[in-house]
Amino acid sequence: MSVVGLVIVFAIIVAAVLAPYIAPYPEHAGTFTDFTNAFEQPSLDHPFGTDDVGRDILTRVLFGYRIALTLVAVVLGIGVPIGVMLGLVAGYTGGWVDTIIMRITDTFLAIPPLVLALAIASAFEPTLEIAMFAIASLWWTWYARLARGLAASQVDQEYVQAAKIAGASTPHILFREILPNCLSPLLVKATLDAGIVVLTGASLSFIGLGVQPPRPGLGTMVANGTQYLPTEWWITVLPGFAIFVLVMGFNMLGDGLRDLFDVEVEQ
């Protein structure tokens, strides 16, 4: 199952990166309109059909994957380093530094991320960038907690004590000694999280606070399609299914990695 996950994630990443070259109608990713071809059912010309203004949905799904994966990269690219750094410092030093950092993370954990992201996004004009910022600004908290627990469990290990006695600096101990020993749980957590970030971003877009038309956000496409149900079902169902496949891929991969590294990660 984890191999399947790896294949799915890898294939989608490749397809998303190459979208401008492999998509059947790359110009359909934006404001293109062709009303004579609107509402076409899935066919050989348009495997996923066309939408209300005649754009090829497969093309837009591929470009939608680009947006979803960018979101994952930005959110985890900001959240993981910040969270890990704060968590390691908190877990290693303890005392009031630990208390302050953990009190702040507790605050963020007192409310579901989607609701907080909604509140943050509401303070700005809705765009993809704001959605990214909103999600990234709260995602570090889980990594802070995880890294803190990992660091705290390593403090009394002999190799840390040895480094201390050898006169290593705190940053050296944190990032050169402790961090390498925490990588596998962090990697598993990040893989499983990638799926949740995709879902959160898609939900924001579906609600209307994320990617705005004509940009091809997957959640945006689903929301736009609902007005044409039940007859033109493909406009809604196929982009929705595309989200499911990507998240499923991340989850199967993450689960496989968890078994491989034999680590416990709270979800």
Binding site: T107, P112, L118, L199, T226, W233
Partner: protein
């Protein structure tokens, strides 16, 4: 540390989290680039009117003074007026809460009556085809966006099969018959003495509740399965087997009770998470609850309503988590309160 001491520590942690959340929401709501007072009164209002309205809402003066005013109002439960509905936010929330609690409670019921049996069946057929199918299903439920599940259910069970209505809480035909006393439609329809309306309320509830339950179903299945397998390897279960007790009795009386503690913890946490899922499901099904109200307030930059909804979600979330901790520690004295691990 004594139990009481633990409890006090946990409570103070909870209050600190909520205080932190109130600060966070204050920062978010005052960063709003638009002028909320202008937004509320419309373009026709004069400068003085906008000024006066802003003063009433506590939107004037230095941030520190605004914060003091904001906290004072929060503590006395005065959330101000919603710019959209023109009602006090507290009244709006009280009016819309029952719809949301009805939805997430029935969804919670689905999670239990589907998730736990599936977990037990998977554990009993460990490694077999049934186990694999259940595992795939569990994966699928955590991977699928809830709005997509909601839409597919509407499409299949609403449009194509025409078994259930796809939006709202009650058919308009029963609108006059049913008196809103509790706000819980299942209760109100019975109080009004209309069984037909009661069934109609159920019909409206089933699809959104089932769709919502999917978001946490995978977790429940997996934790039930793994704790059943855990317990079945224990000596006291081996002993019952050696006595020759039938396997249904072993499962129902001995394994399940002990396997239930971790499941209970996950279930409790999922109840709180359902509130988050409702933000999407209530939109899909036009369900007139707190979450839909929250989304509308967010889309219209209705500051007071946003503050109200986010604080409410925070309070419910934190309280449910505390109750879960207390329950699982009461059921299994070996489990400390979660706050102690620090």
């Amino acid at each position: 540390m004594t139990r009481v001491g633990q409890l006090l520590r946990r409570l103070s942690g909870m209050i600190a989290s909520l205080l932190g959340l109130s600060v966070l929401i204050f920062v978010i709501s005052r960063v709003l680039p638009g002028n909320p007072a202008r937004l509320a009164l419309g373009a026709m209002a004069s400068e003085e009117q906008v000024e006066q309205f802003a003063a009433e809402m506590g939107l004037n003066g230095p941030l520190s003074a605004q914060y003091v005013e904001y906290m004072r109002r929060l503590l006395v439960g005065d959330l101000g007026q919603s710019l959209q509905t023109r009602n006090p936010v507290v009244e709006d929330l009280i009016a819309k809460l029952p719809a949301t609690f009805e939805l997430i409670s029935i969804a919670f019921g689905f999670m239990i009556i589907l998730g736990i049996p599936l977990g037990i069946i998977a554990a009993q057929h460990r490694g077999g085809a049934v186990d694999n199918a259940t595992r795939f299903f569990a994966f699928a439920t955590v991977s699928v966006p809830s709005f997509f599940v909601g839409i597919v259910f509407q499409l299949v069970f609403g449009y194509y099969l025409d078994w259930f209505p796809i939006t709202g809480r009650l058919s308009s035909a029963y609108g006059d018959e049913v008196v809103r006393t509790t706000g819980f439609m299942l209760v109100d329809t019975l109080l009004s003495g209309s069984f037909a309306a009661h069934l109609d309320a159920w019909a409206h509830l089933l699809l959104p509740a089932l769709a919502l339950s999917f978001s946490g179903m995978g977790q429940v299945i997996r934790i039930t399965r793994s704790s059943m397998i855990d317990v079945e390897g224990k000596d006291y279960i081996e002993a019952t087997r050696a006595y020759g007790l039938p396997s249904w009795l072993i499962v129902n009386k001995y394994s399940l009770k002990n396997a239930f503690i971790p499941t209970l913890t996950i279930l409790g946490l999922q109840y709180a998470w359902l509130l988050s899922g409702a933000f999407v499901i209530e939109i899909v099904y036009s369900w007139p609850g707190v979450a839909k109200y929250g989304v509308q307030s967010v889309l219209t930059s209705d500051v007071n309503a946003i503050v109200g909804v986010t604080m409410l979600v925070g309070v419910v979330f934190v309280t449910v988590n505390l109750i879960v901790d207390l329950l699982s520690s009461a059921l299994d004295p070996r489990v400390g309160l979660a706050g102690d691990k620090r």
